[in-house]
Subunit: 209 residues, 2 copies
DNA sequence: ATTATCTATAGATCTATAGATAATGC
DNA sequence: ATTATCTATAGATCTATAGATAATGC
């Protein structure tokens, strides 16, 4: 029942893809190899020809999650510019679709606490992913790097916290309250930063002129 | 080997206490009955004389966690007033002690995502706990209720997100960057709200006088 | 007589491995 | 000849239960 290298590569990819979804839907401990291989259309016995252990799989899948999210961000920057990309990132982050489909969303709000309980490759891959996401969010702001970084951390913290809370609460009124408030806050943060940038530019122009 | 009702009540309490810590340290799936009963100084066989199931235990322990946190907040309000209590809450939340000892801290940042994956009593108890925490944080702000609620949600989201991220990252520089930024932001939020309140009070006074 | 705890274990589930099978790739 | 997958299973672990034991409480 051996398959060609091509088919095997596709299956390897499929296992990683299913893992990247299951991790965000069920968490690290809730992700089990039997369900995973079944979702990939295989039996669990074949797993170890693809990965050395569950831990290695989780680390690789986590790297893929951050790669995909960051690449999506970069593509939007290319297409519409940094400000527009940041707005789209925030709108998507606080959307109902993101709340209801964690398997396609940000790993910070879906299994960040799981990662804080492990050591090794998973943890360092996650650290690197957060670092690169912060670098991208920074690009959406203008001004000196320290200020841009501060704004990026504040914005991302607010997004992660709001989605974590909104997903945990059952009460629809509180749920909507959290998301609506987070949307207003995020928009205000972005608008204020844009106004600051415009004022700095205009003052700078006066000094020159 | 039967024990007195008094001793049994103390052991029941001890099981709940250990669970409240283990939930925050290891998450729901990471909390197992054998380790739990062992931590409570008992063998695992006796568990079901105390609780009907793991699920019931988790729900009761979660209720206890929120009760303790909210009672601590209320006690500080009694002792030092609402503004001071809110400042202390924020300082504690973003402290190194809280980052390193999740088992004594806020359940939102330690196992909020775990809760979003379950239904039933655990979820509703968690929802109620968040609701009551928001009510307490609101007290720390002045102004119309809608504004106070908005500020409470914004502040709590920022705290939850910052601690989730800080715990997940391994890199010390990023870790400190996140916490320092969150501390500045939280203090600014509280200061700005206080200034707003003072201005409103002073304007109000002028109109009267 | 009742019952809280203990030891032991059932039954399910999880990661990982062993051996057979059949297709690939040299 | 090599090897990716399959079936089967080892060994560990988890929730939950059964039966024995000994102390409580009526």
């Amino acid at each position: 029942m051996r398959v060609s290298r091509d088919v095997m590569a596709k299956r390897h990819d499929q296992i990683l893809s299913q893992t990247s979804k299951m991790l965000r839907r069920r968490g690290i401990l809730g992700t089990n190899l039997a369900d995973l291989m079944s979702a990939a259309g295989l039996t669990h016995g074949g797993f170890y020809k693809h990965f050395d252990s569950k831990d290695v799989l989780v680390a690789e899948a986590t790297a893929r999650i951050f790669d995909e999210i960051n690449q999506r961000f970069e593509a939007r920057i290319e297409a519409d510019g940094v400000e527009s990309a940041l707005r789209a990132y925030v709108t998507d982050y606080l959307s109902t679709a993101h709340i209801e489909n964690p398997e396609l969303g940000c790993p910070l709000s879906s299994f960040g606490p799981d990662v804080s309980r492990v050591e090794g490759p998973v943890r360092s891959v996650f650290t690197d992913g957060i670092s690169r996401t912060l670098d991208l969010v920074m690009l959406g702001f203008s001004g000196p790097p320290a200020l841009r970084r501060e704004r990026a951390i504040d914005l991302l913290s607010a997004l992660v916290g709001a989605v974590s809370m909104a997903r945990a609460v059952q009460d629809e009124a509180i749920h909507n309250d959290i998301l609506d408030t987070a949307r207003r806050r995020a928009n205000r943060t972005i608008e204020d930063a844009a106004i600051d940038a415009a004022n700095v530019a205009s003052n700078h122009h006066m000094h020159i002129g």
